[in-house]
């Protein structure tokens, strides 16, 4: 009898542990994803955890990552839209809205998509009606990032001209902890989605900003950037004689590869300045003078992130560490005006990055 009781208790405990572990596992996965800055993954894991445990920790976790997860799916939807995949784009926008139902901008985008591409999304809509929202949410996968033109960065191998990174609109970072985005006319910020440069690795999309403990500045996604038309390659007529060409070319001192951004017809400005910096390529400068006497020095690069130091004169005013590709940091000029430094591209092999600055 005692043995039987023991067996039953053992079974009950095991079952309880298994059930507990399942929810606990999802929760810890969610926490990990949140810590590494993947709010969309964290959100899905928190949702899984919420099926077992509908308690406070899961609730606050969901509220924390909701904004970032919704922003992520919106940015994915915009990529799909750029590629003409309206059905997939619709699905992703619906997912974003499901995560953040009070996002008026997402709802507007969906309505617009339905209005303009009703036929293209008809199948997705029918499927959604049949499967229901939960099935939809788990069925989605992030989009590949190969639809946008690559953004070559001038390297020692390719020093011709600086070709702009093509960027796609992405959503603003949404307010955390359940705050609602209810301004219909709220300015839409954007995240430049930069395609991996050769040698670079960028599988994971930009996600919710996490404040670096050593910085006081908050990482932000940058303001809207319109896709820049591709430049025609500059073909210079070769008028030099063969002898002259054979002559050794004196090495030029490091020069900043500055490109002034064209102002669009609408008059809305984009980056005030864009520049390539390199630690290895001697034809490129390592630092640049940013806005209002603030200089920016490249410290280190990685596959998908870079470190910078900001100086006002000789005084270092800020360290920017692990700035991810496509993400921004805000800094103040000497007058107090805020500017946004965006990492537009990385070529880690040549330790070269491309950055842009614009008003925050």
């Amino acid at each position: 009898m005692t043995r039987r009781l023991q067996r039953i208790s053992c079974l009950v405990v095991t079952t309880l542990l298994a059930v507990g572990c399942d929810g606990g596992k999802s929760f810890s996965e969610a926490r990990k994803a949140e810590e590494r800055g993947d709010p969309h993954v964290a959100y899905d894991q928190y949702c899984k955890a919420a099926t077992d445990s509908r308690g406070g920790a899961t609730a606050s976790g969901l509220a924390r990552v909701r904004g970032g997860a919704s922003a992520y799916w919106e940015s994915q939807a915009l990529l799909e839209m750029d590629a003409g995949n309206y059905g997939e784009s619709w699905r992703m926008l619906m997912k974003a809205l499901e995560i953040q139902p009070d996002s008026t901008t997402t709802a507007k985008m969906i309505r617009q998509l339905e209005l303009q591409h009703g036929e293209a999304i008809a199948e997705a809509r029918t499927e959604w009606m049949q499967r229901g929202s939960v099935a939809l949410a788990s069925a989605l996968r992030p989009r590949r990032r190969a639809t946008v033109e690559p953004a070559p960065i001038p390297t020692s191998d390719d020093k011709q001209s600086v070709v702009e990174s093509k960027v796609a609109l992405a959503p603003p970072p949404k307010k955390e902890s359940g705050s609602s985005e209810s301004d219909a006319g709220a300015t839409r910020q954007a995240e430049p989605v930069v395609i991996p440069v050769p040698g670079g690795k960028r599988d994971e999309p930009a996600s919710t900003a996490v404040e670096s403990p050593q910085d006081t500045a908050v990482q932000l996604t940058p303001a809207p950037v319109e896709p820049i038309p591709e430049e025609k390659p500059i073909v210079r007529p070769t008028t030099q004689s063969p002898e002259r060409e054979a002559r050794p070319v004196p090495k030029k001192p490091s020069r900043p590869a500055i490109r002034r951004e064209p102002v669009r017809e609408s008059g809305r400005s984009e980056f005030l300045v864009m520049q390539s910096l390199s630690l290895k390529d001697r034809s490129l400068s390592r630092g640049m003078t940013g806005m209002e006497g603030i200089s920016i020095l490249l410290k280190d690069t990685d596959d998908d992130e870079a470190d910078f130091d900001l100086f006002s004169g000789k005084e270092r005013i800020k360290k920017i560490r692990d700035l991810k590709l496509g993400r921004s940091q805000v800094f103040a000029g000497q007058s107090g005006t805020l500017y946004r430094l965006t990492l537009l591209g990385i070529h880690h092999k040549s330790r070269t990055v491309r950055v842009g600055i614009r008003p925050a």
């Binding site: 969901l62 008026t104 939960v134």
Partner: protein, 254 residues
């Protein structure tokens, strides 16, 4: 003279009470539960609602059983609410009127809508954890609803799951358990009506809006602000709305 004065005074008072113009929200609490009105109002305000908000008291204050089994089915209570809606509509033919209710309060709302005279409509109806029957025919009721009727439901709602009798006294499972259902033999009018009836089933993500699926948790201000308000405060159709009719048509809900 005294009688005239009294009549004048009453007329003025009642006139003042119903002279509101602009959006109005009526909220009806559950049986023997008088605490949700504040949270619902907070949620709506949080979402930017600036109109009138009125808690319509229908309880007999004799406990939840009395409210659920008797008062919620009272035609007198239903007519009182219908009269109120009618007066507000008369004062402001174009103003938005939203009617929201919790649990047994939803049965009062449905009966009141049935009592409304032809041509009098509210804008949206929100039934939170409704303890009215899921199989109630809403065809006539929907004639008094300009836009949509929403009903939340949850498999974790222990109260509706334990109900022996629905608050409206009609047969069938409570709508708060698995949502409203369209009658199988619905004609074109019924189908048109149910094209505007939308269930909002609980899902794990709602835990983030502080609705863990419980019966009264649905009135959490976060849930009202984040999930309900975007549906009723905007004039535009809400993309996530899936009418009962469409779901019925594809055979996924029943």
């Amino acid at each position: 003279m005294r009688i005239l004065l009294t009549v004048f005074l009453f007329a003025s008072l009642s006139g003042c009470a119903e002279s509101t113009r602009g959006p109005v929200v009526f909220f009806l609490d559950g049986a023997g539960w008088y605490a949700s009105g504040g949270a619902v109002e907070n949620g709506l305000r949080k979402a930017g609602y600036k109109g009138e908000y009125e808690v319509f008291t229908w309880s007999a204050f004799l406990g939840p059983a009395q409210d659920h089994f008797i008062t919620a089915q009272s035609k007198i209570v239903a007519r009182r609410l219908a009269g109120k809606i009618e007066r507000v509509r008369k004062n402001d033919p174009d103003g938005a009127i939203q009617v929201m209710g919790l649990s047994a309060g939803t049965a009062v709302i449905l009966s009141a809508l049935e009592e409304l005279p032809d041509g009098v409509q509210v804008d949206n109806v929100v039934l939170l954890s409704p303890s009215a029957s899921a199989e109630r025919d809403l065809t006539k009721i929907m004639q008094h609803v300009r836009r949509n009727l929403y009903a939340t439901c949850s498999p974790h709602d222990g109260i509706v799951a334990a109900l022996a009798v629905n608050a409206d006294g009609r047969p069938g499972p409570p709508a708060g358990e698995k949502g409203l259902r369209m009658p199988r033999k619905g004609d074109a009018q019924t189908q048109a009506a149910y094209a505007r009836v939308i269930n909002i089933p609980w899902q794990p993500s709602y835990v983030g809006f502080n609705w863990n699926g419980s019966h009264t948790g649905v009135t959490s201000d976060d849930f009202i602000a984040g999930v309900i308000a975007p549906r009723i405060l905007s004039a535009e159709p809400f993309p996530l709305d899936r009418p009962v009719l469409e779901r019925f048509a594809v055979g996924s809900e029943r």
